[in-house]
Amino acid sequence: MQIDVMYRPAHSLARVLLPHGESIVAESGAMVGMSPNVQMQTQSQGGLMGGLKRMFGGESFFRNTFTAQGGPGEVLLAHALCGDMVVLDMTQVGYFVQSSSFIASTQNVQIETKVGGFRSFFAGEGVFVLKATATGPGQMLVGAFGGVEQLNCDGNLVIDTGHLVAWDASLTYSVGKSGSGWIASFLSGEGLVCHFTGQGRIWIQSRNPTAYGQTIGKLLPPRSG
């Protein structure tokens, strides 16, 4: 399977070339177009509970499986937000993915929803992460708000949770406040940060979707009715 990302970086579109019989699993709503011989199947992986858990984590209840039948096929996928996309090759350790960044993966990739703890839930930052693992070679497509930058963590990095896209599962992470105290953290405007330790790669996005939404939201005219 080949995944090309076109129209980078602001409004990227991924083209998935499926050989005969192969499938890709995508978030519902990610499909932009597909060839007529591609079959779409909607399912809630992990049944009702799996779907609910995903919804709670800010993803879609259903995921769609696209399979090329009777010959090679093509599927076009996009992210909801303006920005870049990255194709990650599956590794032995796998990845953690910020839940709203996940777009699609090959069928052998196991996606597990992890709840980032109550602290992150109440802070409204939605630090829900997915753990993606695969037994063999596979690929995963993730999307960013803005540009994507790969940081190499060698020891310690502190990253604003709103800017996280994905990271190697070899890294240890913990979510916490940004400053020395809660008041300082509040005034600093940094909200929650993720502390990473160890060795691995981290992909960040150059814009924070929540911060963007809040800024624009405050400027909107009041709703009528």
Partner: protein, 254 residues
């Protein structure tokens, strides 16, 4: 159209920093013009100051300290006013006037980004004065003084311009825009839609007025209020207008 293939992706390879000006800091602006991000590489003891909330990432050993931005030689009254304004703005949004000081005891980096989509502009100041619209300030280093200026009645009329930030001194400044930034060297009169103004050099004469055409022009032209400049100096414009965006989205909301 054929895009780059997955394998040919040099995704986010760290950009080489721009050479530091004498006494300045190493920095790199990437992902411009739509989603620009700034990386500052600090040497031991160097400090960069950034707008509250602008931090994307930092090395853990880079210390972050939140401070009230009230200018270096602020009196009690100025401090008090800065405190009140900072608290108000912390809740209603916009520039907070709390700033974060990032200091590296050993070499380390800080990544910074503005909230809206747009570009980051770097400018080295050598004693001149620059006036920035609210929200345009991102970060600075060196001996730079930031002073809040109340735009007065005409500032309130111009919506965006209730507060301006006056930047002066010696050092490095990074400011940001919604959309791309265009630098215009003005000689004589020049007009800018207030929603497209990012900043201007302090020696320029500045007035806020209707775009012309009397009352009808004010209401019907869609141009609202413009900033009129006189004299010579540089004006920075942004290619998009936040007010136009929020008006548009507001009308589409259920």
């Amino acid at each position: 159209m054929q895009g780059p293939t997955a394998s040919s992706y040099a995704q986010g390879a760290p950009a080489a920093p721009a050479p530091a000006a004498p006494g300045g800091v190493l920095h790199a602006i990437t992902h411009g013009p739509s989603f620009a991000m700034l990386r500052v590489d600090l040497t031991p003891g160097q400090t960069v100051v950034a707008e509250a909330g602008a931090m994307v990432a930092r090395h853990q050993h880079v210390a972050m300290e939140v401070k009230l931005n009230a200018g270096r030689k602020a009196g009690v009254f100025a401090l008090l006013m800065a405190m009140i304004v900072a608290l108000i703005r912390r809740f209603i949004g916009g520039e907070t006037f709390f700033v974060n000081h990032f200091t590296a005891p050993q070499s380390g980096s800080v990544w910074l980004a503005p909230t809206l989509s747009g570009q980051i502009q770097y400018r080295r100041l050598a004693g001149e004065r620059l006036v920035l619209s609210a929200g345009a300030y991102l970060a600075h280093s060196g001996d730079i003084d930031l002073k809040m200026r109340f735009g007065g009645l005409r500032g309130i009329l111009a919506k965006e311009g209730a507060f301006f930030l006056e930047v002066s001194g010696q050092g490095e400044l990074w400011f940001t825009s919604y959309g791309g930034i265009e630098a215009v060297d003005v000689r004589g009169p020049f007009m800018v839609d207030n929603g497209h103004l990012v900043g201007f050099e302090g020696q320029l004469d500045f007035n806020i007025r209707s775009a012309g055409g009397g009352m009808l022009g004010f209401v019907a032209s869609g141009e609202g209020i413009v900033c009129e400049f006189n004299g010579s100096g540089r004006v920075y414009l942004q290619s998009r207008n936040v007010g136009a965006l929020t008006d548009w989205i507001g009308r589409l909301l259920p």
